[in-house]
Symmetry: C2
């Protein structure tokens, strides 16, 4: 067979989708064999992830992007990243924020839509993966293609993680690898909904940021945050992020404390995995280089075992929520290269 345009040296064109809490974001991406992936088009559809309609939003985004593809770059693979854990067969096994996808075989659900262009795309590989895994793959492709060992950590409502070890994404025995949020960092710490105490997520997630701020506010150390939120109890991570970006001194102090907790967990990951690159993003960490810089200086000061002589590179994650869609696209492109554009995952 002659090479199709999609498998030319320019690389396959694929669709990458990120299923976020309030919208579905999609990218049409060309992924060359070497060099960074190239985003050809982008679209987003508002969608409450917690509703069954999320599958329709995904289909809308994909159909929109397929329609926009240039004739020499017809998409031949689909990648989808979501906040959950996906088993080796591609079935969503844990997805607290997208119950509409739980236990769903997403490709089959999309196929039920009956759209002809969507059906054509679904004949190619379809990859569904955890969004933090997608962030790790995107960061690896864009920021550090030469790294053999890279960890990505995303700080949202919870904490997500993606591990690249010896150049490959690690999924673990059940698809749950890279769940650093439930590392216990203080056995006497606050209770976690998971049933443990002192999980990293209790301190270093967006929820943790709000908790740290409420602790500060309760002892009178966060007046601007109380004013912004209306009460101590109403303070959330978003108030801290806004205050930090506006330069409010009390918010900056809370972010310093928060950065210390982020640094602790990152240092633990480096001690264990000896990775040369750590990528962090999401929440207040993604709000600017200043937060990443605070985490970096704290690691160097307080965690010498993790950093001495290692030349650790700590980087901000690329492309915000788009980073997850980009990584999903890269995973889809790799599946195309492995199986051919006509090959199916199943």
């Amino acid at each position: 067979v002659s090479a199709s345009p999609s498998t030319s040296p320019a690389g396959p064109t694929v669709v990458g989708v990120d299923v976020g809490g309030t919208k579905v974001l999609g990218l049409l991406v060309r992924v060359p064999a070497t060099g960074p992936p190239e985003v050809l088009s982008e679209t987003a559809v508002p969608s409450e992830a917690a509703t069954p309609g999320v599958i329709d939003a995904i289909a809308d985004v994909v159909v929109d992007l397929v329609g926009r593809a240039p004739s020499d770059a017809e998409p031949v693979g689909l990648g989808i990243g979501l906040a959950g854990f996906v088993d080796p067969a591609g079935v969503v096994r844990r997805a607290p924020n997208t119950p509409g996808l739980l236990d769903a075989d997403v490709p089959h659900r999309l196929a039920e839509r009956g759209d002809e262009r969507l059906a054509t795309l679904l004949r190619g590989p379809v990859v569904v993966d955890n969004d933090a895994n997608c962030t790790a793959v995107a960061a690896h492709a864009v920021l550090a293609p030469d790294a053999r060992h890279l960890v990505a950590v995303t700080f949202g409502t919870g904490i997500g993680g993606g591990l690249i070890v010896d150049g490959s994404l690690v999924r673990g025995a059940h698809g749950f690898a890279g769940e650093p949020g439930h590392m216990v960092v203080d056995p006497d710490g606050p209770h976690c909904p998971c049933g443990q105490r002192g999980c990293w997520e209790r301190y270093a997630s967006g929820s943790g940021l709000g908790w740290l701020a409420r602790e500060a506010a309760a002892s009178g150390r966060a007046p601007s945050l109380v004013a912004a939120a209306g009460s101590v109890e109403a303070i959330r991570g978003e108030h801290v992020t806004a205050g930090f970006l506006a330069g409010a001194a009390d918010a900056v102090t809370v972010v310093d404390t928060y950065a210390g907790w982020v640094a602790l967990g990152v240092a633990n990951l480096v001690a264990l995995l000896d990775c040369e690159v750590v990528v962090i993003g999401g929440g207040v960490v993604g709000a600017g280089d200043a937060v990443v810089e605070r985490v970096r200086s704290t690691i160097e000061r307080d965690y010498p075992a993790a950093t001495a002589g290692r030349g650790l590179r700590l980087l901000g994650a690329p492309g915000g929520p788009g980073g997850g869609a980009l990584g999903a696209a890269v995973l889809a492109a790799r599946a195309v290269e492995r199986n051919g554009p006509g090959g199916h995952r199943h």
Copy 2:
């Protein structure tokens, strides 16, 4: 070329060596392509690891075992495990307990010995690796050959770790992967010589066991340990192990506390790596199934995020110090299979 007996279906015969604190232990091992490795002979030479003479002890052990090899099983590879970190070129980069090997290219140092049988063996692959990595490889080969994801943790003066991810040993960017002892599990905990505070090693190593016992004794809760050691300050991990094996109630209580700290760190590793098997050994953990059982029940009770629905297998490490030598032998045999018996690592 015709297949030599050493590469027959019975598998190559190799020498595996473990460099311990007070002795060098060696095994002559046949490693079949499938099934567990078979130990043909064993020898040990007392040696203070902290002296330059340790290289002579290694040579003595190897020469002894080569001399004992049956004519149809001449050894064609050498593996050496030691308490330290070994860079990708095989040079020892960190070895607090064996300074005589630091920065040493061990194969070249052995070759200087000028022994003819040793020189013949050194023409085959020589693999030098961290002893906990060797324990992981041995446990994988003997206890869980079907596991894709296995973590081994050795509890001695410090804590060592070996990670098998997707079936392969992980060495990390600098050969330091799997150093769980310096995961911080309590940021307000005691200072660690590494410069951090509250490292897992401060609680869950043999030194940590002694510290926990002295803390108990200082508040009058370990009378039999004070009696055995002569004073609170003189209590060491060994006193606790002996008391535990003798059934002393205060020692059992200290071991229960200790098992809780072991469980915490093991749960963290499982949360992060989603491994189906964890192997623990060394120190009081290696003193009997009762300790492993305490760790297992504590994980199930206190760390649901690590265990729910995962069917985690927590096992005692095989073969005591011999486990490290066995793993070193398996690594050497794999190098023989990869390079052929005449191929050299360099």
